[in-house]
């Protein structure tokens, strides 16, 4: 199922879409499935599952710590696909956010097929741009998978056009020039990028990187079609290392706050 259906549904309700991220295998495989299901129940419209990677260039210390915890516990690419299958079974469009090397190593065709078989919607690729992605584009197109590429405040208009032309599902606009979980994005800061992106495509545009509160989500939702949150969810779970029920309760509360934000 393409994530665009979730965006269309939200648009019909006159609101923005809430996209929630957690790395697979954090705090462990079963725990990540439980956490992601809580996020679905509490109001996430789209789920983004991180594939833990040893060298996450776009991630700040919070997500890197969670991913490293998953890797240290032995999480494998096949575990990520198991998490996808469990979350996609809820009916919510489920994407994998992944750095490129694990996919090359698994085999691009094989991963695309296994992702499709697991019910996954597609990939978000933070270190793969369309101009270096011919294999992925072909594999995704053959299976109707979403290709969510990123645009950044530094992108030229020409590169934005190149990126949106190759994207499917939605376009991921990075809210700040920086890595995840560091600075806060603002509507004033990201509005020009959203406008430049929308000038090239009818695809929905989601804003991620630098979003953590309901008020911020409300602010950004007036410009963007979707709000993408990652580090804040991870931070919430990291804050309850020894009390899983309390962690899940806090996660539900944060999701509800953000879901309220996109409806404000």
């Amino acid at each position: 199922m393409s994530t665009s259906t979730a965006f269309e549904k939200a648009r019909a309700e006159g609101r923005a879409t809430l996209v929630g991220y957690l790395p697979a295998g954090f705090p462990d495989v079963a725990g990540s499935i439980a956490a992601l299901r809580v996020m679905v129940e509490a109001g996430c419209d789209v789920i983004e599952i991180g594939l833990p990677y040893s060298d996450p260039v776009m991630d700040g210390p919070i997500i890197q710590a969670a991913a490293q915890q998953a890797l240290d516990a032995g999480v494998r690419t096949t575990d990520v696909l198991r998490v996808v299958e469990a979350v996609a079974a809820t009916g919510v469009p489920t994407l994998v956010m992944t750095y490129w090397n694990p996919i090359e190593r698994y085999g691009v065709e094989r991963f695309a097929q296994d992702l499709a078989d697991a019910g996954g919607a597609g990939l978000i690729t933070p270190d793969l741009t369309p101009d270096f992605a011919p294999d992925w584009i072909a594999a995704a197109d053959a299976r109707d998978l979403d290709k969510v590429f990123l645009v950044a405040p530094s992108s030229t208009d020409e590169r934005i056009a190149l990126t949106t032309a190759a994207s499917r599902g939605f376009v991921y606009a990075t809210g700040i020039m920086g890595v995840t979980g560091t600075k806060q994005a603002t509507a004033a800061g990201v509005a020009p990028l959203i406008a430049r992106t929308k000038a090239t495509t009818d695809l929905p545009v989601g804003v991620g990187v630098g979003v953590s509160t309901g008020a911020q989500a409300a602010d950004l939702a007036s410009y963007a079609d979707g709000v993408i949150v990652g580090s804040a969810f991870v931070r919430t779970l990291l804050g309850h290392p020894d009390d899983r029920p309390a962690g899940l309760a806090a996660l539900a509360a944060l999701t509800e706050e953000l879901a309220g934000g996109v409806r404000a």
Binding site: V57, L71, W100, N101, D127, P134, S154, T163, V179
Partner: protein, 410 residues
Amino acid sequence: MSSTYDADTFGWFGGTGAFGGRFMPEALMAALDELDVAWRGAMADPAFTAEFERLLTDYAGVPSMLYDATRLADSPGVAGTGTRFLLKREDLNHTGAHKIRNVLGQALLTQRMGKTRVIAETGAGQHGVASATAAAYLGLDCTVYMGEVDTERQALNVARMQLLGAEVIPVKSGSRTLKDAINEALRDWVATVDETAYLFGTAAGPHPFPSLVLSFVRGIGDEARRQCLELTGALPDAVAACVGGGSNAIGLFAGFLDDPEVAIYGFEPGGDGVETGRHAATIFAGSIGVLHGARTYVLQDEDGQTVESHSISAGLDYPGVGPQHSALAAAGRATYLPVTDAEAMEAMALLARTEGIIAAIESAHAVAGALRLAKERPGQTIVVNLSGRGDKDMGTAMDWFHLGEAGEGA
């Protein structure tokens, strides 16, 4: 001077999609394009290349000499093989390594682009020292990222960088070595790209860095080729260099790539021995993957997670390698072989005792490899890149050889 082994305009070595490319966040694409345009423009501008050459000559002490190491050739085990070792003395450059060539080029380019701050990553610290030096000389702010493990084993170089006015940031994530310093520098760059240039320390990373770095260090090979012809009347039979990321090696190799009669050898850090798994022999024992922006040989597990490398030399302790080396290996133009920590340390001591030259442990890998070549194929003239001096490695040497106590030493 271009070679048939150069990258195409998209940064691919060995054909589209083979090695190299640019696997990077979109946020950095504009900066990489800007760098590419600025670099090509600079290299085509006689005023820029003249200023670069002037700095190399007047400030860095380049061209470095090509030294005929006859005492090494007469050493036990090699004497009688008729081998001639010609050492390219990059250790005599200002700051003690080939790195100053690359950094002066990139720092001049930074000035030309109107940026005021440079960042760098460093392993052994030679690139960090060179970056801090060039920044001081050209009036740029400088921040150097260095794995926490490396700040401990290379404390002298940390102090040198600080004295030169650079801020040294110890990186505590991952393996706390060069690989993680690169990750952290890239994160800094994403957030500060408007005013900051990233002085990449080796001929690896996303396009155009492999080609850009080569353009600034290729003088090593061009000089060595000319000097060898002047000294011996012929080209060498072989050239040899150590390969971590591979900038000193690609600089030397570039001078000989289009001379098919010259054999090319890269010596990789074999650590405790490739069979132990504790090594950094990326081409010899790795597999093709994407790391730090390029498709190249990588040390990785079956899920594509980077495997931690090991080398006694902090400067070679890297699980990736420049993509041009991968392409040269795949094409069979160059041969990459591992040298263990023990072999390198033995060569370091031998060179010190026979020639009075204390080489960097990196460079000692190349010397060890050349000694092996001498025994395997007698009668060769081998150009060996002595890429750096060993002052920074004295702490490691003291531990290895139990030096600093009264007695005979190694």
